[in-house]
Symmetry: C2
Subunit: 148 residues, 2 copies
Protein backbone atom coordinates (compact mmCIF):
# COMPACT_ATOMS: atom_id res chain seq x y z
CA UNK A 1 0.00 0.00 0.00
CA UNK A 2 1.69 3.12 1.18
CA UNK A 3 4.92 4.02 2.80
CA UNK A 4 4.14 7.01 4.97
CA UNK A 5 0.52 7.85 4.44
CA UNK A 6 0.05 9.01 7.99
CA UNK A 7 2.84 11.54 8.37
CA UNK A 8 1.61 14.88 9.77
CA UNK A 9 2.17 16.82 6.57
CA UNK A 10 0.14 14.39 4.50
CA UNK A 11 -2.67 14.41 7.05
CA UNK A 12 -2.65 18.20 7.00
CA UNK A 13 -2.92 18.27 3.21
CA UNK A 14 -5.71 15.68 3.28
CA UNK A 15 -7.62 17.83 5.74
CA UNK A 16 -7.06 20.91 3.59
CA UNK A 17 -8.37 19.07 0.55
CA UNK A 18 -11.45 18.17 2.57
CA UNK A 19 -11.92 21.84 3.42
CA UNK A 20 -11.53 22.86 -0.21
CA UNK A 21 -14.10 20.27 -1.23
CA UNK A 22 -16.58 21.46 1.39
CA UNK A 23 -16.04 25.08 0.41
CA UNK A 24 -16.39 24.36 -3.30
CA UNK A 25 -19.63 22.49 -2.70
CA UNK A 26 -21.09 25.30 -0.63
CA UNK A 27 -20.23 27.87 -3.24
CA UNK A 28 -21.65 25.71 -5.98
CA UNK A 29 -24.95 25.16 -4.17
CA UNK A 30 -25.13 28.85 -3.36
CA UNK A 31 -24.49 29.86 -6.96
CA UNK A 32 -27.14 27.40 -8.13
CA UNK A 33 -29.63 28.68 -5.58
CA UNK A 34 -29.13 32.22 -6.85
CA UNK A 35 -30.66 30.98 -10.08
CA UNK A 36 -33.33 29.01 -8.21
CA UNK A 37 -31.65 25.76 -9.15
CA UNK A 38 -30.70 22.79 -6.99
CA UNK A 39 -27.17 21.46 -7.21
CA UNK A 40 -28.30 18.46 -9.24
CA UNK A 41 -30.20 20.68 -11.66
CA UNK A 42 -27.19 22.99 -12.05
CA UNK A 43 -24.86 20.07 -12.74
CA UNK A 44 -27.19 18.61 -15.33
CA UNK A 45 -27.65 21.98 -17.00
CA UNK A 46 -23.89 22.53 -17.02
CA UNK A 47 -23.47 19.17 -18.73
CA UNK A 48 -26.06 19.96 -21.40
CA UNK A 49 -24.49 23.36 -21.99
CA UNK A 50 -21.60 21.50 -23.59
CA UNK A 51 -23.69 19.34 -25.91
CA UNK A 52 -27.10 17.65 -26.18
CA UNK A 53 -27.09 14.21 -24.65
CA UNK A 54 -29.22 11.06 -24.42
CA UNK A 55 -30.97 10.57 -21.08
CA UNK A 56 -29.01 7.40 -20.42
CA UNK A 57 -25.69 9.12 -21.09
CA UNK A 58 -26.60 11.89 -18.66
CA UNK A 59 -27.17 9.31 -15.95
CA UNK A 60 -23.74 7.82 -16.63
CA UNK A 61 -22.07 11.23 -16.48
CA UNK A 62 -23.88 12.17 -13.28
CA UNK A 63 -23.35 8.69 -11.87
CA UNK A 64 -26.96 8.18 -10.92
CA UNK A 65 -29.87 6.01 -12.06
CA UNK A 66 -31.61 6.92 -15.34
CA UNK A 67 -34.92 7.26 -13.52
CA UNK A 68 -33.54 10.23 -11.61
CA UNK A 69 -32.61 12.04 -14.79
CA UNK A 70 -36.24 11.93 -15.93
CA UNK A 71 -37.34 14.01 -12.95
CA UNK A 72 -34.51 16.53 -13.07
CA UNK A 73 -34.96 17.09 -16.79
CA UNK A 74 -38.73 17.38 -16.20
CA UNK A 75 -38.18 20.25 -13.79
CA UNK A 76 -35.64 21.99 -15.99
CA UNK A 77 -37.92 21.54 -18.98
CA UNK A 78 -40.87 23.00 -17.08
CA UNK A 79 -38.80 26.14 -16.59
CA UNK A 80 -37.77 26.34 -20.21
CA UNK A 81 -34.08 25.72 -19.58
CA UNK A 82 -33.94 22.34 -21.28
CA UNK A 83 -35.88 20.54 -24.00
CA UNK A 84 -36.22 16.96 -25.19
CA UNK A 85 -35.59 16.10 -28.84
CA UNK A 86 -35.98 12.83 -30.69
CA UNK A 87 -32.86 11.04 -31.87
CA UNK A 88 -33.12 10.50 -35.64
CA UNK A 89 -30.91 7.44 -35.40
CA UNK A 90 -32.85 5.57 -32.71
CA UNK A 91 -36.46 6.28 -31.90
CA UNK A 92 -36.08 4.93 -28.38
CA UNK A 93 -33.60 7.65 -27.50
CA UNK A 94 -34.45 11.15 -26.30
CA UNK A 95 -31.80 13.82 -26.49
CA UNK A 96 -31.91 16.47 -23.79
CA UNK A 97 -30.60 19.85 -24.91
CA UNK A 98 -30.19 23.22 -23.23
CA UNK A 99 -32.40 25.96 -24.67
CA UNK A 100 -31.06 29.44 -25.40
CA UNK A 101 -32.23 30.51 -21.94
CA UNK A 102 -30.62 27.43 -20.47
CA UNK A 103 -27.29 28.24 -22.11
CA UNK A 104 -27.44 31.78 -20.73
CA UNK A 105 -28.19 30.49 -17.24
CA UNK A 106 -25.36 27.97 -17.48
CA UNK A 107 -22.93 30.72 -18.47
CA UNK A 108 -24.04 32.93 -15.58
CA UNK A 109 -23.63 29.98 -13.26
CA UNK A 110 -20.09 29.38 -14.41
CA UNK A 111 -19.19 33.02 -13.97
CA UNK A 112 -20.48 33.10 -10.42
CA UNK A 113 -18.21 30.26 -9.35
CA UNK A 114 -15.45 32.58 -8.28
CA UNK A 115 -14.23 30.60 -5.32
CA UNK A 116 -11.92 28.35 -7.26
CA UNK A 117 -10.80 31.16 -9.53
CA UNK A 118 -10.26 34.18 -7.29
CA UNK A 119 -7.59 32.75 -5.02
CA UNK A 120 -5.78 31.31 -8.00
CA UNK A 121 -5.06 34.84 -9.10
CA UNK A 122 -2.86 35.14 -6.05
CA UNK A 123 -0.62 32.36 -7.25
CA UNK A 124 2.24 32.92 -9.62
CA UNK A 125 2.24 31.35 -13.03
CA UNK A 126 4.82 28.80 -11.93
CA UNK A 127 2.74 27.93 -8.89
CA UNK A 128 -0.38 27.44 -10.96
CA UNK A 129 1.49 25.11 -13.27
CA UNK A 130 2.81 23.18 -10.27
CA UNK A 131 -0.70 22.97 -8.83
CA UNK A 132 -2.06 21.77 -12.14
CA UNK A 133 0.54 19.02 -12.37
CA UNK A 134 -0.10 17.86 -8.82
CA UNK A 135 -3.86 17.78 -9.29
CA UNK A 136 -3.44 15.87 -12.53
CA UNK A 137 -1.29 13.33 -10.74
CA UNK A 138 -3.86 13.02 -7.98
CA UNK A 139 -6.64 12.38 -10.46
CA UNK A 140 -4.48 10.16 -12.61
CA UNK A 141 -3.83 7.55 -9.96
CA UNK A 142 -6.50 4.94 -10.32
CA UNK A 143 -8.69 6.99 -12.61
CA UNK A 144 -8.40 7.64 -16.29
CA UNK A 145 -9.38 10.94 -17.92
CA UNK A 146 -13.07 11.79 -17.96
CA UNK A 147 -13.57 9.34 -20.75
CA UNK A 148 -17.17 9.26 -21.81
Amino acid sequence: MATSRTDPLTLEVVQLIGSVVARYYEEYEHAAAEHSLTGAQARLLGLLSLEPMAMRKIAQKLKCEPSNVTGIVDRLEARGLVERRPDPADRRVKLAAATATGLTTAALLRDSLDFAREPLAELSDAERRALRDMLQRMLGSGNGPDGG
Copy 2:
Protein backbone atom coordinates in the same frame (compact mmCIF):
# COMPACT_ATOMS: atom_id res chain seq x y z
CA MET B 1 -11.74 42.27 -9.36
CA ALA B 2 -9.21 40.13 -11.10
CA THR B 3 -6.58 40.68 -13.67
CA SER B 4 -6.41 37.48 -15.68
CA ARG B 5 -8.94 35.13 -14.21
CA THR B 6 -9.74 33.65 -17.56
CA ASP B 7 -6.33 32.68 -18.85
CA PRO B 8 -6.19 29.07 -20.08
CA LEU B 9 -3.97 27.84 -17.27
CA THR B 10 -6.28 29.19 -14.59
CA LEU B 11 -9.31 27.69 -16.29
CA GLU B 12 -7.53 24.36 -16.50
CA VAL B 13 -6.73 24.43 -12.80
CA VAL B 14 -10.31 25.42 -11.96
CA GLN B 15 -11.58 22.47 -13.95
CA LEU B 16 -9.11 20.15 -12.24
CA ILE B 17 -10.26 21.36 -8.85
CA GLY B 18 -13.82 20.58 -9.91
CA SER B 19 -12.74 17.08 -10.85
CA VAL B 20 -10.98 16.59 -7.54
CA VAL B 21 -14.08 17.76 -5.70
CA ALA B 22 -16.32 15.39 -7.66
CA ARG B 23 -13.94 12.51 -7.09
CA TYR B 24 -13.59 13.22 -3.40
CA TYR B 25 -17.35 13.33 -2.99
CA GLU B 26 -17.83 10.03 -4.80
CA GLU B 27 -15.24 8.32 -2.66
CA TYR B 28 -16.75 9.77 0.48
CA GLU B 29 -20.27 8.59 -0.38
CA HIS B 30 -18.88 5.18 -1.32
CA ALA B 31 -16.96 4.86 1.92
CA ALA B 32 -20.07 5.89 3.87
CA ALA B 33 -22.23 3.40 1.97
CA GLU B 34 -19.83 0.59 2.87
CA HIS B 35 -20.89 1.21 6.45
CA SER B 36 -24.55 1.57 5.43
CA LEU B 37 -24.39 5.29 6.11
CA THR B 38 -25.49 8.18 3.93
CA GLY B 39 -23.07 11.03 3.32
CA ALA B 40 -24.93 13.29 5.73
CA GLN B 41 -24.91 10.63 8.43
CA ALA B 42 -21.20 10.02 7.93
CA ARG B 43 -20.41 13.74 8.16
CA LEU B 44 -22.43 14.12 11.34
CA LEU B 45 -20.83 11.04 12.89
CA GLY B 46 -17.38 12.32 11.94
CA LEU B 47 -18.17 15.59 13.64
CA LEU B 48 -19.35 13.88 16.84
CA SER B 49 -16.30 11.63 16.83
CA LEU B 50 -14.30 14.75 17.75
CA GLU B 51 -16.52 15.84 20.63
CA PRO B 52 -20.14 15.76 21.83
CA MET B 53 -22.11 18.70 20.53
CA ALA B 54 -25.44 20.47 21.01
CA MET B 55 -27.98 19.88 18.25
CA ARG B 56 -27.90 23.54 17.30
CA LYS B 57 -24.14 23.59 17.04
CA ILE B 58 -24.22 20.56 14.76
CA ALA B 59 -26.56 22.40 12.43
CA GLN B 60 -24.17 25.35 12.31
CA LYS B 61 -21.20 23.10 11.56
CA LEU B 62 -23.09 21.20 8.88
CA LYS B 63 -24.61 24.42 7.54
CA CYS B 64 -28.16 23.14 7.57
CA GLU B 65 -31.33 23.81 9.53
CA PRO B 66 -31.60 22.42 13.09
CA SER B 67 -34.73 20.50 12.14
CA ASN B 68 -32.66 18.36 9.77
CA VAL B 69 -30.24 17.39 12.52
CA THR B 70 -33.10 15.89 14.52
CA GLY B 71 -33.80 13.35 11.80
CA ILE B 72 -30.19 12.43 11.08
CA VAL B 73 -29.40 11.97 14.77
CA ASP B 74 -32.61 9.94 15.12
CA ARG B 75 -31.40 7.49 12.49
CA LEU B 76 -27.87 7.27 13.91
CA GLU B 77 -29.30 6.83 17.39
CA ALA B 78 -31.61 4.04 16.21
CA ARG B 79 -28.49 2.20 15.05
CA GLY B 80 -26.64 2.75 18.28
CA LEU B 81 -23.93 4.96 16.78
CA VAL B 82 -24.99 8.13 18.57
CA GLU B 83 -26.80 9.00 21.79
CA ARG B 84 -28.47 12.11 23.20
CA ARG B 85 -27.43 13.42 26.61
CA PRO B 86 -28.84 16.26 28.68
CA ASP B 87 -26.68 19.36 29.11
CA PRO B 88 -26.22 19.97 32.84
CA ALA B 89 -25.77 23.68 32.22
CA ASP B 90 -28.96 24.27 30.19
CA ARG B 91 -31.92 21.94 30.31
CA ARG B 92 -33.11 23.06 26.89
CA VAL B 93 -29.98 21.70 25.25
CA LYS B 94 -29.39 18.13 24.15
CA LEU B 95 -25.85 17.01 23.52
CA ALA B 96 -25.37 14.42 20.79
CA ALA B 97 -22.41 12.13 21.36
CA ALA B 98 -20.90 9.21 19.47
CA THR B 99 -21.15 5.88 21.27
CA ALA B 100 -18.22 3.49 21.46
CA THR B 101 -19.56 1.75 18.35
CA GLY B 102 -19.97 5.12 16.68
CA LEU B 103 -16.37 6.05 17.40
CA THR B 104 -15.19 2.77 15.91
CA THR B 105 -17.27 3.30 12.79
CA ALA B 106 -15.99 6.86 12.43
CA ALA B 107 -12.41 5.64 12.65
CA LEU B 108 -13.01 2.96 10.01
CA LEU B 109 -14.61 5.59 7.81
CA ARG B 110 -11.61 7.86 8.07
CA ASP B 111 -9.26 5.03 7.21
CA SER B 112 -11.17 4.09 4.09
CA LEU B 113 -10.84 7.57 2.60
CA ASP B 114 -7.72 6.71 0.68
CA PHE B 115 -8.36 8.84 -2.38
CA ALA B 116 -6.92 12.01 -0.97
CA ARG B 117 -4.09 10.19 0.72
CA GLU B 118 -2.82 7.63 -1.76
CA PRO B 119 -1.85 9.99 -4.58
CA LEU B 120 -0.19 12.31 -2.10
CA ALA B 121 2.33 9.59 -1.46
CA GLU B 122 3.56 10.14 -5.00
CA LEU B 123 4.46 13.72 -4.24
CA SER B 124 7.77 14.73 -2.76
CA ASP B 125 7.94 16.34 0.62
CA ALA B 126 8.63 19.72 -0.95
CA GLU B 127 5.66 19.30 -3.28
CA ARG B 128 3.36 18.44 -0.43
CA ARG B 129 4.46 21.52 1.45
CA ALA B 130 3.90 23.65 -1.64
CA LEU B 131 0.46 22.10 -2.11
CA ARG B 132 -0.38 22.75 1.52
CA ASP B 133 0.61 26.40 1.24
CA MET B 134 -1.41 26.91 -1.93
CA LEU B 135 -4.49 25.24 -0.47
CA GLN B 136 -4.17 27.35 2.65
CA ARG B 137 -4.01 30.47 0.54
CA MET B 138 -7.05 29.35 -1.42
CA LEU B 139 -9.05 28.79 1.74
CA GLY B 140 -7.72 31.91 3.37
CA SER B 141 -9.07 34.33 0.81
CA GLY B 142 -12.47 35.41 1.98
CA ASN B 143 -12.80 32.77 4.66
CA GLY B 144 -11.38 32.64 8.13
CA PRO B 145 -10.39 29.41 9.85
CA ASP B 146 -13.18 27.03 10.74
CA GLY B 147 -14.17 29.23 13.64
CA GLY B 148 -17.12 27.81 15.50
